[in-house]
Amino acid sequence: MNAPIIRIRGVGKTYDRSDAARPALAGLDLEVRAGEALAVLGRSGSGKSTLLNLVAGLDRPSEGGVEVDGVAVHELGEAALAEYRRTRIGMVFQFFNLLDDLNVEDNVLLPAQLAGMRRDTARARAGELLERLGVARHAKAFPGRLSGGERQRVAVARALMNRPPLLLADEPTGALDSASAADVRDLLRGLNAEGQTILLVTHDTALAEACANRTIELLDGRLVRDTAAAPAQGGGR
């Protein structure tokens, strides 16, 4: 069995500091092993995105600790968090979050360039990823000209640019039509099959079933279900 890549211990998060405030997350304990594809399910306001933000280091827990790939994320300063996001995680968003004034290749190159990777090495890696994800022909195009599915593929390529051990996906099919959504589902499943650890936040149970080998469900910030859909090892499904 692989070692845990995510360790969450007693994590709570409250946005409103008043006593009567309802926590977005409360006393959450969770471990995710390397190679797992974990889907976090829950209704709107259940704490899914808060959990993702804490793991991504975009937000800080009110209590407890988050450790990713041996890094205590909750203890990091801003500069260290930036370094953490560059090297340990890749993020895929619901609305892609591609920079529309940069072409596809430049968007994909960004994480590597921010990390100071050599230009030729970065370009080779970007070319390889775009080829693998089937959008190489759009390398010089601007995101505004691509379909939703193509944009999400570019976003995935960008997320994988620095070979992060953990891929975080926040409703990756939420803004896509059904054909494009199926396309992205296949892509994520394929990545996990190649050993990529994925933490997927969604309210789409079909996506969770298709991509994840383990599913948890949050309700009012608490873990109410944790089901391993398949043995956690590098070839999920």
Partner: protein, 797 residues
């Protein structure tokens, strides 16, 4: 409150930083404009205005009371041409010594002869304005004429040759537009200061129906003299010299204040335009919401013009207040330089500047507000929910495809390939997102750089010019007749002995002597003074406007006023005469001086008999580096004192006109720089706010706070550098126009050396000045961008 009012109030309160920037920008812009326009207005004919406000007198006359009865003197008020008069005031001509406790000149020093008048501060004519201290409250106190006072407030003057040796304490300095006396005392003090056996004179002040020219004033004086017994009119001083001097000095201010005023106005309009239109554009989505709720286009336009006018109104009010407040010290210095005349900012300037500023704000807000009002609701609502490309496309009615590859995209791609860190290349490409706004802000930085360049150039030129003008006082040590008068009559100076004393003293590096002569220039229509120099004057700092220095007898250099008065030019030959002898001399150069002077070699006097005015001779001594000027002067003083001379430390004093100009230029430049910096700050702030979501994405991808700051700062580098490259040459051109215009107004030419002050060591930092200005403006938004929480930025629409 109406729905419209609530929207306006909420809009102002919600965007506090933007509102604050708008308030600050209008405040500083209005301050700069108030100061520049106010000064410009004040510098035009300041003397006439002061003369009118302070009820100035055309003639100040002293009558000998022993030769005419009071009735005869009073009757002069009805002499031909007299339109108003004041007096009689008892007047004394005295020469006191500095009293106990006076530091400079040392207690016991003989002060210059002075006229003291016993009168009240106000009066039907020549109102006196206290500029320092207070007015006299009774006997034992004196107020001196500001700008001509031999003593400072708190010092005292002692009349050692009068019974009881009375002492007067200096309690204040006063400005008199008529220069009617050197000092004023309580009328009851006069008797105590009158020498036994003498009577005080009677001072009358007059205004005449015709006194516009020297000839008319002279005719008026003659009429007064004719109205009293012969010899009664002891002295009459005209207002004309004071008027001419004040107007000439004032007119030197006009060119550079005009330049700064134009710069300030242009920059203020640009920046206010950027700030206001940016604020309206940034609210497009909110406009969509308002329209979806039923706001009409006109209501939307009114709401956003109102939203701009509220902070602009506050800023304008603060600017008017601040401008007037700042004008007190700034115009105070100019007031001293002009010897009166600047009585503060005229109220109509406040009104005009405020109205123009509010009009500019309303005008610049109206265009984007009307555009926003006409924007289709669905398009306005779409802004912020879509990509920037789509935003532009929406704003343009869908005529541009989002993300389409245009020339700007190609430039952005090229910038992306630069061999610099990616955060920097992203920053460099940032101005392309809003090219119009970036260009306008860069234009403001250009104007700021022009202002800084002009200010630096003026300071250097005026400093150099001042050195040249002070060359007649050159020398670290000066040997001359004591100011307070010599104990030994100076009808002959043993120049050889003085020269020997100077040359034999350790520490002497070089010296020369200057002495006025009785020599005249044949056919001279002016009142030129011919000054003979001997010794090595090459280090003196005399500057030539044209031609070359004289090389011996037969050659002279002359001032611009000499050339003008005598209709001559460099290269002409003039004839020097003295005691019936004459000799020709060629004009080899025009020397920089405001006086009507002819300089020649001492040897040139030989054919004319060699006569000089020995009482006015001065020996100018330069010392070797490290020599103690005071010790040197003290040592030399002991040697030359028996000859009726004194040795003192030299060195040019502070020229109040140059100080006033430098202060004004520095203040205006600072204000212009602040306006330009606020413009940059606002632009970067708007850009950062508009792209905060992109910023969140970049941070989510691993952009560190340092990289974020680097990106934001780099976004202004290109504009700042280009602004420097454009602004500095323009500033140099403006300087080369303004300096000669100022010199012309002062009646002098500008030597090339004083104009070519922009050496590479000056230009280099000035070019970088635009960059520094832009970086300073961007520093705060950069910090805000770095501190923006990623998760908040990602949620921002």
């Amino acid at each position: 409150m109406s729905a419209l009012g609530k929207v306006v109030r909420a809009g102002v309160g919600r965007k506090r930083v933007q509102t604050l920037v708008m308030v600050l920008t209008t405040t500083v812009s209005v301050m700069a404009c108030i100061l520049a326009v106010g000064l410009l207005v004040a510098a035009r004919g300041p003397y006439q205005r002061s003369f009118s406000d302070q009820h100035g007198a055309h003639l100040n006359v002293l009558y000998d009371q022993t030769r005419a009865s009071p009735a005869q003197l009073a009757a002069t008020a009805h002499a031909p041409g007299v339109s108003a008069s004041a007096g009689p005031y008892p007047a004394l001509t005295v020469q006191p010594r500095s009293g106990p406790g006076t530091r400079f000149p040392a207690a016991g020093s003989l002060l210059p002869p002075m006229t003291l008048v016993g009168r009240a501060q106000g009066g039907p004519m020549d109102d006196l304005r206290i500029t320092n201290g207070r007015w006299i409250q009774g006997p034992g106190e004196v107020v001196f004429l500001d700008g001509h006072s031999p003593l400072a407030v708190g010092d005292s003057a002692r009349f050692t040759d009068l019974p009881g040796q009375p002492t007067l304490k200096v309690v204040g300095l006063a400005a008199s537009v008529s220069w009617s006396a050197d000092g004023w005392i309580a009328p009851e003090q006069v008797a105590g200061l009158t020498s036994p056996g003498t009577a005080p004179a009677a001072q009358y002040l007059y205004r005449f129906a015709r006194a516009g020219t020297d000839a008319e004033v002279e005719a008026d004086r003659a009429a007064l003299a004719a109205a009293v017994p012969s010899g009664t009119l002891a002295r009459a001083t005209s207002y004309r010299p004071a008027q001419e001097e004040a107007n000439r000095t004032a007119s030197t201010f006009v060119p550079f204040v005009t330049a700064f005023g134009v710069l300030g106005l242009a920059m203020s309009v640009l920046i206010i335009g950027v700030v206001v239109s940016g604020a309206v554009s940034a609210a497009t989505r909110r406009i969509g919401i308002l329209k979806s709720l039923g706001f009409t286009p006109a209501q939307v336009a009114r709401a956003y013009v109102g939203q701009a006018l509220i902070p602009a109104g506050i800023g304008t009010a603060l600017g008017v207040f601040g401008g007037n407040l700042l004008s007190v010290p700034v115009l105070g210095i100019a007031h001293k330089a002009l010897r009166g005349g600047l009585l503060g900012i005229p109220p109509w300037v406040d009104v005009v500047v405020a109205v123009v500023a509010m009009g500019a704000v309303a005008g610049t807000a109206l265009v984007p507000a009307l555009r926003a009002g006409r924007l289709r609701t669905v398009e306005a609502l779409a802004v912020g929910r879509t990509a920037p490309g789509a935003k532009r496309a929406a704003a343009l009615g869908g005529s541009v495809r989002p993300g389409a590859a245009g020339p700007l995209s190609r430039i952005r791609e090229l910038i992306g390939r630069l061999p610099v860190p990616r955060a920097f290349s992203l920053g460099l490409a940032s101005p392309l997102n809003r090219p119009g706004r970036s260009a306008t802000t860069a234009a403001a930085v250009v104007l700021g750089t022009v202002g800084v360049t002009l200010c630096v150039g003026l300071t250097l030129s005026l400093g150099s010019l001042q050195d040249g003008l002070a060359a007649d006082r050159a020398g670290k040590v000066l040997v001359q007749t004591p100011i307070e008068g010599s104990a030994v009559p100076v009808d002959h100076v043993d120049e050889a002995a003085v020269a020997k004393a100077i040359e034999s003293r350790p520490g002497t590096r070089a010296w020369y002597s200057s002495v006025p002569t009785p020599v005249t220039v044949a056919g001279n229509t002016g009142r030129s003074e011919v000054v003979a120099l001997s010794g090595d004057a090459s280090w003196s700092g005399f500057q030539l406007v044209s031609g070359r220095w004289f090389h011996g007898p037969g050659e002279v250099v002359v001032s611009a006023s000499f050339l003008r008065a005598n209709q001559t030019k460099v290269g002409d030959t003039l004839t020097l005469t003295d005691h019936g002898r004459s000799t020709p001399a060629k004009i080899t150069g025009e020397v920089l001086t405001t006086n009507d002077l002819v300089f020649l070699d001492r040897a040139a006097l030989a054919p004319l008999g060699g006569a000089i005015h020995p009482e006015a001779i001065a020996f100018h001594i330069d010392l070797t580096p490290g020599a103690d000027a005071k010790a040197y002067a003290d040592g030399l003083d002991a040697v030359v004192k028996p000859m009726g001379l004194s040795a003192d430390e030299g060195g040019p004093g502070i020229n109040i006109v140059v100080l006033a100009m430098n202060t004004l230029a520095g203040t205006l430049t600072l204000l212009l720089s602040v306006v330009a910096g606020l413009g940059v700050l606002n632009t970067v702030l708007l850009d950062t706010r508009e792209r905060v979501h992109d910023l969140g994405v970049l941070k989510a991808l691993g952009m560190s706070p340092r990289q974020t700051i680097g990106m934001v700062l780099t976004s202004v580098c290109g504009g700042g550098l280009v602004a420097g490259l454009i602004g500095v040459p323009i500033g140099i051109v403006v300087h080369h126009q303004v300096m000669p215009a100022m010199a012309r107004a002062a009646g002098i030419g500008v030597p090339d050396a004083d104009l070519t002050v922009f050496s590479p060591s000056v230009v280099g930092p000035l070019i970088l000045g635009g960059l520094v200005l832009a970086l300073l403006g961007a520093a705060l938004p950069a910090t805000w961008a770095a501190r923006t929480r990623t998760v908040t930025a990602l949620r921002t629409e």
